[in-house]
Structures are given as C-alpha cells and as structure tokens.
Subunit: 355 residues, 2 copies
Amino acid sequence: MIKNDRFLKALARQPVDKTPVWLMRQAGRYLPEYRKIRSQAGDFLTLCKTPELACEVTLQPLERFDLDAAIIFSDILTIPDAMHLGLYFEPGEGPKFKQPTCDAASIKKLGIPDPEDDLGYVMQAIRHTKQALAGKVPLIGFAGSPWTIGCYMVEGGPSKTFATIKGMLYTDPAILHQLLQKLADSISLYLQAQIAAGADVIMLFDTWGGILTPQAYQAFSLHYMQQILQSLPAHIPTIVFTKNGGLWLEAIANIGSNAVGLDWTIDVGDARQRIGHQVALQGNLDPAIMQATPEVITQHVEQILASYGSGNGHIFNLGHGITPNIQPENVAVLVDAVHEKSQQYHQCKQHDQAQ
Amino acid sequence: MIKNDRFLKALARQPVDKTPVWLMRQAGRYLPEYRKIRSQAGDFLTLCKTPELACEVTLQPLERFDLDAAIIFSDILTIPDAMHLGLYFEPGEGPKFKQPTCDAASIKKLGIPDPEDDLGYVMQAIRHTKQALAGKVPLIGFAGSPWTIGCYMVEGGPSKTFATIKGMLYTDPAILHQLLQKLADSISLYLQAQIAAGADVIMLFDTWGGILTPQAYQAFSLHYMQQILQSLPAHIPTIVFTKNGGLWLEAIANIGSNAVGLDWTIDVGDARQRIGHQVALQGNLDPAIMQATPEVITQHVEQILASYGSGNGHIFNLGHGITPNIQPENVAVLVDAVHEKSQQYHQCKQHDQAQ
C-alpha cells in the first residue's frame, strides 16, 4: 500500500537501501509557499483548523524534496484548545492561554475532548492528506506529551523556569497527576482517532521533559507517555522524543515505542550503543547547521551517518524543528546527502548478510 | 587561616564532619535585605560596581544561614562590559548589549581588559570581603565561560535558539575562535587577579555549553575552559559547571578542575560512579524544590545525600541559581538539613577508616 516504505522498514529495524529522512516542522515557515497559504488563512490556528489548507501545507515539502515521510500539519496544543482554555499566539512570544490551568478547581473542570466532535478538523486533514498522498510515503500523526502540554496549560504560556508547574509538582503532586491523567486519556483517544483516520506512524513530542529531575521525569512524563503507547494498536509504529532526554535513554527505550528521537546533544553512535538493540533511532543534526553552506551540511550528514554506522534502524532527522531562517535549497542538500551518502552503510550490511 | 574549611576539604576530597553547602546566587533577590541595598544602589550594575555594597550583599546570606562558603557578588558579563559593549539590563528580559559582537571587524576591535584598571571594582570588592570575612569561610571568585559570555555578546542578549552564534560556529568557525580566545585570555587574567585579591576558590559558569553538539562543546567551550584552568595557580581549587552537561561528564572531569558542578537532571550517585574517582561533585537540588514545604525540602536533601552515599567529595548546592520567589526561611531549612542529615555518611566513613 505504501510505495516508499523506507521509513516503516527503518522503524522496524529492517534492511533498507538508503537511510530514510524527514524533518521535524518540514511543513513550515522556511517555505515561501507555506508563508503564502498561512497569510491567506490569516493566522496559524485557522490554518490548523482548515483541513484543506492543512493538507496542502503538509504536502508542500514533499513536492520539493525527496522526503521519506509526511507529518500532518497541526500543533501540540490542539488538545487544550479543544478544552476551551483560550489558546492564542502572541507574535514573537509563542503560545498563550487566556485561562491557565493552575489549581485543583480548574483541573477538575477540564473535560476529555471527543476526537471527532472537538478535534474533527485534525481527522479530516489526515483523511484528505492520506487520499492526496495515495500511498507515496507514510503519514505521521502526533501529539505533545502530557507533561509538555501541561507545562503550557499551567504556566499559561512559554516560561524560562516553569516555576508554576514545578511548584505544583513539589507541593501538590496529586493535583498535577490529575491533570496529567486527563491529558493522557485525551491524547490516547486523540491518537487512536488519528490512526483510524489514516495515520501510519505516531510520534509523541516531549519538548519539556528535559527540565525535570530523573525521578520526576519518570513519574510525571515518561509514565504517562507509556500509558498512551499502551493504548495504541500494536501494529502502528511509534516514536518518542524527549528534548534534552539524552541522560535517560535507557528508561525512554523501555516504554514500548519502536523508535527514540534524539536531539543533537548526544552522539548517535553512543545512543546506538546504549539502546540500539531495543529501538530504532531518529535524529540528530543540529538545526543550526542548516544555516551553513552545502559543503558543511553534507560533512555533518556524513559524520552522523558514520557515527551510526552500518546496519538498520536509523531514521535521519534534525535534533529539533527546522527554523524559519533556513534556505529551502539547503533542505534539498540535506535530503539528497542522506540518501546518497548512506548507501554504503546499507550495501555493506546486505553484503555481510549475503556472505 | 580559614576557620570553616569544610568546603576546601570537600573540594580536595578529604574527610569532613558534615557535607558543606552553599547556593548559587545565595546573595540575591530572594533576600529582603538584598532588595533594600539594590534599590539604594539604583540598578544591578551600579551595585556590582560599588565595592562596599557588593561586599555587603556578599555577606548578607552568611548572617542568616550557616553556609560553608561565600561567593563574591558580581556578574558573568563584567568582562564584555569592560570591553565597552554597552551592557544594560532590560527589566524582565535579562542582559543586553548596545553593540553586539557578531562580525570579524567587531571582534578584531575588542581589547583584553586589564583586571585592575578596567575591573578594579571586582578586586576591591574581593579585598573588602576577605577582610570582613576574617577567615570565617572561603570566598569564591568566578567568571562565565568564554562560550557563555560569547553567546551574550554575539546574540546581543538572551536567545532561544542562539541562531547567530551557531551560524558563526558553522559558517565561520575561525572568527568565533578569535572571539573565544580573546575571552579566554581576558578571563584568565581576570581570575588570576581575583586570586591575587584574595579569592580562595574559582568557579567557571558555563550556562550555555549545553546547547552544543558533543564535538562543538569540546572545541568551542571545554577547550577554552581548560586553557583558563591551566593559567591559574595550582594550589587554588576550581569548579567547572556546564548546565545540561550531564552527558559529557567524563570530558568535563578531564580538564583539570577539582570539582564538577551538576544540574538537577542527573542523579548525583550516577555522576559519582562516572567521575567521582577524579573530581569532587557539587550539586544538585532542583531550585524549584525550594518553593515547597520544609518537609519536602528535607526529603529531597536526604535523597541527594543518600544517592551520593558515604565518603568524601560532595559539596551540596542547587542545580542552578536560587530564584527570587523563594522564602528565606526555606534556605535555612535546606542548609540545616544538609548539615544534620549528612553526618551519618561522614561518621560511617570515619568509622570505616578506624577499623
């Protein structure tokens, strides 16, 4: 059914001809055609909530680049938006909520959104996109982790110290667990619906897990991500990504995902030694390298491929989302370099197997 | 000469009766007596530049709490300020520079500040404080790392993605090395002068090293910190702290400092297993825990002490600076809990040695 199944094979740690590659935020502001649609939509949330447009921007990077996966255009804050907390985006400041969720009463009031009734625009965008893709590449559905979504809900917006949610964690953990449980239940339903609508792979983004102590990370982030993974059908491959989670890879690899996403602070070869026997690895070019020349980009691609080495189970990606200041031509350089320079590592493997 | 030498002994990994404790930013806005002096001074920089007042606020936390060290009240950006880049503080936004240092020409123009001529106010503050302390506890002098100071100079202020300095790193590394070498030379002279003025211990703060790849961290941060350490007299104990550097502890422990500072994302027992045979460890309570009740603070102190276990070489601290929203009473709880609860780990050791 899927014509280019390199990404699915790598997730299953099966042999491939070339290392598959896609980019976090590959449908985004670095593309002029994205900025055009975005300005037509008026604002970011309207773009997310208009399935035809969300489908169109999801497909844009695939028109330009030889990417091995599509990821549905959406946002990790669709769930609290569906909980009626008044999500809005202040230009240059990131997401904010008119009603932060920072006490027992406001947490008690939160409902579990019904995916088709309250978040139907996401499912519609997935259905449109699946149809338009016509099996060209797999489509990734996604959600934020309960902890990460909770950070935005409790703080009411971006934060440097996350003092409010951490205060709650250390003074009233039971209340925070109630919030995270509601989020985990909501996310499970949401991702099940994304799968029913056609998502081939699911990714959990834990942007803020890395601000926790090892014990708090286990109890307040990893635990709930594990619950979510367990609620999903076993045949759907999953990827878990905790930014700044490099110290905790063994724990992350144990919660049942097929792949673990890596940011750029860890050497992918070291990560493979630690957890490569259990999971596939996704990453991990520093997004800042995309500002450099084609030669420098290619050189860093080669370093990462060499560090991972021969064999299966690597999905190339950035260590975080691509930033708006990147030239689209450099993405072509990256994608083509991954495909071209990775062949030697897969040929070697096939040669070894033939012997 | 120093009456309470618990901190110096722990830095040398020698036996102590109790685990020594001090707090990053212990002279700071959480103290009402600090806020009073600060409002008299007018602004933060004037306070730094008035030796009598800097001395007074350095001593304030020692009046209240049974701390085992003092740290001179100053800022990591005194050096670029002495380079005439127009340092100023925008309320709620952090430090900024009127002239960012983001090209070859502006880097070439930078001079190496003379510590006594250009930064004499720091040396005077240290001399005053040493006299006032009268050997009560050791006095820590400090500087930012070249990479961290460079981040502020190149970005011109706080940044989320550090796109400008990382762009320089990947497109024009030679220029960035020129900047970092000038900073390393300046910092070496600055710290030598702090030692001559009376600083007993030196700490390097690498707040932003953790945003780099492992290779870039080695080349653009660790390398220059090692140069600085090598320029200091061998008898002066040193501490190196890279926030989010937990993945690179082995490399950090190899550059010749006596102690390595830890943020709260790593278990102190794991860190001890990895590098405790080489260096003392400083840390690592999550500063957010200081918002909690005395019982919760004490419980987390006990966890960290137990995780480090019996024996020498632990200096208790937070994993980052104390925040302005903390009740001073909670600092007393912390300091006293460290001293009280740590005795068992040192008694055991002495008992073992006696056998």
